[in-house]
Amino acid sequence: MDPKELTGAQALIKSLEMQQVEVMFGLPGGAILPVYDPIIDSSIRHILVRHEQGAGHMAEGYAQATGRPGVAIVTSGPGATNIVTPLADAYMDSIPLVVITGQVATSSIGSDAFQESDTTGITMGITKHNWLITEAKDIPRVVAEAFHVATTGRPGPVVIDMPKDVAQATMQWYWPEPSDLDLPGYHPVTVGDPELVRQAAELILAAERPVIYAGGGILKARASEALRELAERTGIPVVTTLMARGSFPDSHPLCLGMPGMHGNYTAVTAMQRSDLLIALGSRFDDRVTGRVGDFAPGAKIIHVDIDPAEHHKVRRADVAIVGDCRLVTDELLSALDGLGLPHSDACRSGSGGTPADAVPGAPAAPGTPAASFPRERLDPWRETLSQWQRRYPLVYDQTDAPGELKPQFVLETLRDATPDDTIVASGVGQHQMFASQWWKFDYPNTWINSGGLGTMGFAVPASIGAKVGRPNRMVWAVDGDGCFQMTAQELVTASSERIPVKIALLNNAYLGMVRQWQEMFYGERYSEVYLSPDLPDYVGWAESMGCVGIRVETPEEVGPAIDKANAVDDRPVVIDFRTDASEKVYPMVAAGDSNDNIMVDPAQSRGDG
């Protein structure tokens, strides 16, 4: 036999190897059967999930933790439809995924065959692109195109739909050169227009109340270092959106934390009062802006995004720069150099001291625009922000009353008992907001959550994917009881594959965020939100899935339970924290309301005039 002659299935797996894929998450079935045969002989690790949604979220967690594309493989029909939610999730959060779906034989397509679904049709609106392969000879080229599309420009998920007969057919192996890719309509722009960058630099030097509005694009572009240099050299404070937590260290004196619906008072109000928002890889999501007409009314906007369609979509930008956040930020720094912004190495230590303590850099040459922009020019602005931070810190009150274990207390204790580079994955709801608020994220790619789509059940599989990609890091999932019940079966996967993730289950017996809205906006009429604290028995369930299960009911038990969990490294751990159901997430901006009407914790608003 000609050694270069491969089956389509062999060519597919070999193509994945050529793309340096080290792991894929999947579950076999009829139409994908031929592709599973060469997996036995492949260097690629395959992780057998218990539900295809788990495969998709694991691939997302892997991608977010490592920055490399996540790969999942499922069969046709229900296998493909079960991974639709992760595809939609990855599309919203711009996560590079390559999902391979089996398909019925080309001769059966369109005949309502067993386990047939129109996968390319179903996923068209929730993928960056998808391909239906019709000839085995196309496989290496399509795989190369798929990885290229998924990982360049604005990253996103792609689907390769692989009919069974194509996997069984033979082809002559080749590996395409970059010039062989057939993508005449795909040429993402990465470098910013120098004239626009210069205009942005001038706006920055003229601003008195600037804020850097850092979004998930910072992490996608690996721009954390560039962002830090921009912030430190200009002295401009930074808010990090839900998708950008960790892209700028929370411990940095210039970090204001998370803005938005449950952002802290200072981050939200700094944007409202600012005269210049420097949006880097952020997209003016409704959860950040509140009512758009009232959002940051006095601010000029610099908007850097690799996706030109984000410019002017929600808010008209004064300077809209298409490009990669890291490259454009570097260009911006050069442009600021050109305009005479002083270097200030003295304030690069990055931690310790308040902004007001920062040492100004060398004086700029007289007559240049930047002569009026030593960092201390922003002192009044930073002082205002510091006052807000002192007046409206995040608060909670851990009482001694029985049954009132506060979720915030659990998270603070967990944060302090784990390494600084611990990876935290979360589901969606109150626990997600508490985790984002109370954790201190000092490293990029340590916070993994479902931001745009808001997918309950994300945490458990995403944490497993993250741990697979970063086996030497501690990985904790912070999950709610409602979320946990949606995807907990993947802990069986984790146990059998020896993936020692840890789950902090904040079990308040409710769909907590919905309960909070019903309490605040529906007159405490609780409709279909009660779940029960002990049905299921989470400890028993965890143990039946091969995990260590621990129950915690009082504040005193929290620390020891976490220490016990941290000591386990051969299997997953689930801690069932029985938390106070009445605790609400504050601050809060009601949906559709102006960010000016931010509601702080009632304990802080008492006494306000």
Binding site: T120, G121, M124, G125, K128, H129, L132, V149, L183, P184, G185, Y186, H187, D307, P308, A309, H311, H312, K313
Partner: protein
Amino acid sequence: MSAYGVDKRHHTLTVLVENKPGVLARVAGLFSRRGYNIFSLAVAPTDNPRFSRITIVVDVESAPLDQIIKQLDKLIPVVSITELAPSAARERELLLVTVEVSPETRGQVIQLVGVFEGKIVDVGHDRLTVMLAGDPTKIDDFEDLLRSYGIVDLQRSGRVALPKLDRTDDRSRGATVLGFAKNPEKAG
């Protein structure tokens, strides 16, 4: 009243796409999921078999034109987009219409077809099928005038358009070409 309403709302996009299965579904799906209104749409091969051209008349009241173009451009098989403002385009459309005629009105209809430089393509005892190609507003007028005779069946092709030529230097003008730099040599 013209079937096309106030024409300033409508911009014509000529979209060069890869000639691959499903591309029309991608374009149509984008318009539907983002809530953009399509006024008319025509698809045809180009002189290069790798590419097809989709001519879309969009309602810019439903969404900003800028957004429509940028979202279209994100579709991987979209190679380039040329935007033609109504005043900058040469637009043509084809109409086929079957109209009722009686011995009294047959002559009037035939006369009308002559005035509009249309063509009678089929003749029945009490019906005529007429073809007219031309500027969409002319087609609108013709359709309006025929209505009183009784239209049995009517089919319009949707518009196709090319930019008006600039007679000063014989280069196309008034057209904003987006994504053209992506692939100038192949964008035929």
